[in-house]
Every structure is written in structure tokens, then in C-alpha cells.
Symmetry: C2
Amino acid sequence: MKGADMRAALFDVFGTVVDWRSGVARDVGKFLERHAIKGIEPEAFADAWRERYSPAMEEVRAARRAFVPLDRLHFENLLATLGGFGIASQDFPEAELRELNRAWHRLDPWPDAINGLTRMKAKMIIAPLSNGNVSLLLNMAKRAALPWDAILGAELVQAYKPDPEAYLRTASLLDLPPGEIVMVAAHNGDLAAARACGMRTAFVARPTEHGPDQTTDLRPEQEWDHVAADFESLARQWAA
Amino acid sequence: MKGADMRAALFDVFGTVVDWRSGVARDVGKFLERHAIKGIEPEAFADAWRERYSPAMEEVRAARRAFVPLDRLHFENLLATLGGFGIASQDFPEAELRELNRAWHRLDPWPDAINGLTRMKAKMIIAPLSNGNVSLLLNMAKRAALPWDAILGAELVQAYKPDPEAYLRTASLLDLPPGEIVMVAAHNGDLAAARACGMRTAFVARPTEHGPDQTTDLRPEQEWDHVAADFESLARQWAA
């Protein structure tokens, strides 16, 4: 399948476009050092913070809670994660914790991301379809020079992936049939949900998203429409 | 006032960034010629079509009608405008009328717009805050190479300007206080509404938006925070 008949490519962001683990660990490390907190690996803190991500969204997906933007879930999860490491969040000014929470706005792209996106942008609409909120994705894009055509995602459609509404309402905002949209992700589950909504799928493995010992999403688990080693390679496939 | 403390610039689009009258007249002219319809000036048709714009949105603003995207209002207004010129819309395939309706997606920017926007983009977030729907603004931006950081507007916040919610909910999506946002428009009314919501204001006159005999919005009607002859001049002010 060629790229010629695809009108838009939508991208998962955390893990697929940016390296959340290193970025969060970097800011957590500074926080721990500033407060002379010893004995906690910043990467372990980042993993523990991220572990609360999916359960927090599940409350919204299961309609046990009204939609709230990811910044808010991240902040609640930060307080819980601090507690889990025996750190009393009340000991810190709220403004400092809010700033630490914005570590998720300051993530660096994988080395191939910007070149690949820039090349794809010449052929089609490119936009995030992320669970991150608009300001998070926009601040991230400005800092890292991600060349998005638009900022799309969960906040605009008030639904968290893999809820089908997250994909279908985004297609509706683009006024495109799902079959003219390709979802790009490093996560098989995200692609399975996009495919169930009629979107095309592209898998790009990010084997160190979760660190050197990652065991999940190392390879495609279905016959995705496109599989590439990185974004530059995917862009070359679509240009062919 | 300098640009240094402004985090985002939001732009009215129809009239301020793009020349809707010439663009719509161009596509209407092709339609009339294709069907050998004589005696109608394409510009007069564009004006008549546009005249129905504000009353149609007013139905939504006054809550007499649920929010619908502008593409839909434009299409209803196209049928009514055809009727107003004695043209029976039923005589044409719906697909052709839908395509004509997308004239609003194919508008050209004023000559200074792209250079000015590109310069502003290096300093702050730039995005449309338009009554146009997302796909309209995105298709327009791709065609004309408008360098937006994000596509914002009425559809995302389900409110048409000058309803205060259109400005306030957009500020909320950006997670910025209105005072760190500047609204840029060629229309005094748009700026008055933005100012009432706490936003800063920048007026750029577009004296031929409505053609050579324009009588409205030729000059600033309040002491706006910034006044400039065009986008390049505004960008220079903000860089100073």
C-alpha cells in the first residue's frame, strides 16, 4: 500500500514520537537533587509515575469519572508517586510540583522523528492523536520543533484512547473517512483500536521506550498496513 | 507594550489572514461559467453568500439552534444564495455544490500574511481563532502554507465569536491566562469581544476585504494595544 491515497497521518506521542522516560527522569533527577533526596533512581520514579497513567484514564474511559485533561491526571499521579516513594508532597510548594508536572511538556523526540515528520508533512496532514492535552502537546511541539499541522487529541474529543470515540471523533474533526487516515504508533494496542475504527495502521518499534529491559511492543503483533524501523524509513516507504 | 510577555497570538482568519471575497468569487465564477449562467457578478454572489454568515451563526449564539460546524452553515447559505439569484440548487449534483462550498477552504492569504506569521511564530504560539471549522482551517493552511502551530476555533469550543466562550474556552485549551494572549483581527467587534475577556488586542486594517467600496473597519475604533498596517509590520513591532 502506498502513501498516495492517505490524507492524514495521526501519531501517538508518548513513546512513539518522544522519549518520555528519559525526559521525565531528567526533570525528576533535578528535583531529587535540589532537595537532597537520596536512594531513588529517577528512571524508577518515571516508571512508577507512568504506571499510574493507564489506570487513571481508565476511570474516565469507564465513565466512573468525567473527562479531565491529562495534566490533571499526571498531577494527581505525581502526588501518589511521591507518596509511594515515602516523600510527603505537602513539604513542597505547589508551584514547584506543578512545574515538575510539566516535565511531560518537555520531552525530547526520538532522533529520527523530526526529519521523518517533516518529510511526511509535504505529502499529507500530520497531527498528534495523543492522550496528552492541547497545551501539553503544543508546548512540547514548540520546544522540540515538532512540525505538526494541527494539535489533535483526547482533550478535543473528550475521550481517551483506546476508546473508539477518540479515533472516530478525530476523523470527524478532520472531515475524512477513517480509511484515508493512518494511525502511527509504537503500541500494538493503539493500532488495534485504530484499525477497529477503520483507520490504516503503521507500526514503528521503540524498543527502549521502557528502558533497556523492555519486553512489550518489541514487534508488530498483527499484520499492520505499514511497519518501519523509524519515522525516516516510514516516510521513505510512503514516498515510494 | 512589547511582544516579549505575550505567549500566544490568535488570529481571526476570514478577512484578516485571507481574502475571502476574491477566493470565493473565483470559484463561483468558474461554477457560473461551467453552467453558462449569465448576468451574475461573482463578487456580488460572494457578498450575498457572506451576508448570510453572521445571521446563521446568530441562531447558534442565541441558542435557538445547537452548534453545527461552519461548513454546514456555509452549505445552507449557499443553497439560499443560489435561490436568491433565481438559481434552482436542485438542478445541480449535490457533490458539485459541496465542492463549491469548499471554496471557503481555498482562500489565498493577503500578501504580507505568511511572512508576518512566520516571524511571529519564532516568538510565540500562533493559531487561528476563527469561526471556521477545523477541517476548513486545516485544508486552507495546507494549501496556502500558513505556518500555524495549532488549529483552534469555534468548532473545538462549540461557540461562535463574539460569544465570550469562544475566547475563554480557547484560552483554557492553551492553559494561558487571557492576558498572555493577543487577538489579532481586522474587525473592531472581534477585538472588543476579546478585550472584554481580558485578551490583548491587535488591529490590522484590511480596507479591501469587502471590495473597493468598503466602509467598515477601515480604522481602529478603540485604543487597541497594537495597531499595524499589515502582519509584517506587526511582527516588527513585536520584535522591537
